[in-house]
Amino acid sequence: MGTGRLYVAVATGGFRRYATYRAATAAGVFTNTVFGLILVYTYRALWDAKPHLGGYDQAQAVTYVWLGQAFLSTLAIGGGGVEEELMDRIRTGDVAIDLYRPADLQLWWLAADLGRAFFQLLGRGVVPFVFGALCFPAYLPTDAGTWLAFLVTVLLAMVVSFGLRYLVALCAFWLLDGTGVGQMMWLAGYFCSGMLLPLNVFPGALGEVVRALPWSSLLQAPADVLLGHADPWRTYLFQGAWAVALLGLGRMMQSAATRRVVVQGG
């Protein structure tokens, strides 16, 4: 079996696994839609008070809200991807089994997480987005090129998101309990990805700093490509650079961790 096919199989497994929880997915769709509704009204009030805030018009702000709701679980912005399971396996010592497998630890989990992300995008992301686009005047580009460019940024966002969460999970090798780090990551993810408010609405230097951080690859970057606010190629470069940096750092941490691994339990 070629290595490529192995990882495709792992990703398919990840997709199928999440697809099993139908009631949970429906509940998630409902919750995302409710939160999207609340946010849409507050954003519309904000854009009423200040039209063209951050360079968006009101329809673009509406699209932005529903993109955020679609990406929340897809990109595990608040956590909740495969990293929780990996952390558990590190804590219990099951990770030793993963290390025996004839597959690379990082790529294995990346494949599993991509499978999860694709399911969440289709299962939890599309419905709130379509609901939002139908119920509110939203900005939707009409040319296929923009949508295609947008999909590429979403894929890159998935990799960056995994890169960040893999680092969090590896912390468990040293800390055993990764709850605290996970929570910090959750906060950073919410604040710096633009889930709270589009990053181009942040004032002054704060806005420039958050836009340079990796989290802006998650929501702000794909949104700006879809809304025609950013050049796709420059966005790919930005996201790609962060993906390479984070995965590289993860690889370094991984080899440091496996050199000193002490298997728990017995």
Partner: protein
């Protein structure tokens, strides 16, 4: 007693307790940071100034925080129904509701209460109110009634989980979603939505209506003035309905037995 046990268990790891309490504080604080960021760009949202929005926010967050502290563990019920561990609670000579509420009682949720109270305190120093004894009296009554209304939502959500076992996220839409909704002025939302959270799920009584009276602002939906004083009644009604739903849910419970 069960709650006391969980408090002792979390205090066993002091560093972790401090970190998670801070985390809870910070997580809820970000909601307010978002509002403050909005106000760096505008002077009013839905016709409300920042201190006025903070007043709404503080009332909602404090009420919700207290309810969450008391019975926020309710969302674990779905898991207990799924894996059959609810049976352990059924055979104990203590009301199941009390046990589920105290299950994994998390003192770290104090972070949320603290944050809500701080924002409310700040708002009270900034907002312009012609204080009367009646308005002063209304404040603690509002927080207590709001807490009771949120508790009822939690219990009703838990009752729903007897039916839909792994759909605990639906509950989040009403609890966390509800408190987020109330943190913004009613003038921001569409009439139908405001009507829904006034007459169907009476969240408007948590803060919008009493706050409209205290702040001297027009009432949402042109409701008569006296409704600002009805939150205790509404809260009692909600609790009664939630109690009925809970009993119906518990009676329909069939153990998975594994």
């Amino acid at each position: 007693m069960i709650a006391g046990m969980w408090v002792r268990s979390t205090l066993a790891y002091r560093a972790s307790f401090v970190m998670t309490t801070f985390g809870n504080f910070a997580a809820t604080f970000f909601d307010f940071v978002a509002i403050m960021l909005m106000f760096t760009r505008v002077h009013a949202l839905g016709g409300y100034s920042l201190p006025q929005v903070a007043f709404l926010y503080g009332l909602s967050a404090a009420s919700f925080g207290l309810a969450d502290l008391a019975i926020g563990s309710m969302d674990r019920l779905g898991r207990r129904v799924r894996d059959g561990t609810l049976d352990t609670l059924l055979v104990r000579p203590v009301p199941v509701l009390a046990q589920v509420a105290a299950d994994r009682f998390a003192l770290r949720r104090l972070g949320r209460v603290l944050q809500g109270s701080l924002v409310l305190g700040w708002a009270l120093t900034r907002v312009e109110i012609d204080w009367t004894p009646l308005k002063l009296l209304l404040m603690p009554v509002t927080v207590a009634s709001g807490c009771a209304i949120f508790c009822a939502v939690f219990v009703a959500g838990a009752a729903f989980q007897f039916v839909a076992q792994d759909a605990s996220e639906v509950q989040n839409a009403f609890t966390y979603g509800g408190t987020t909704l109330l943190q913004y002025p009613p003038t921001v939302f569409a009439k139908e939505l405001v009507r829904g959270v006034t007459f169907l799920l009476p969240l408007a009584f948590v803060n919008w209506l009493p706050a409209a009276y205290v702040l001297g602002r027009p009432y949402p939906l042109d409701l008569p003035g006296w409704v600002a004083f009805t939150p205790p009644l509404v809260a009692a009604g909600c609790c009664a309905l939630a109690g009925l739903a809970w009993r119906a849910g518990l009676r329909s419970y069939r153990s998975t037995g594994s």
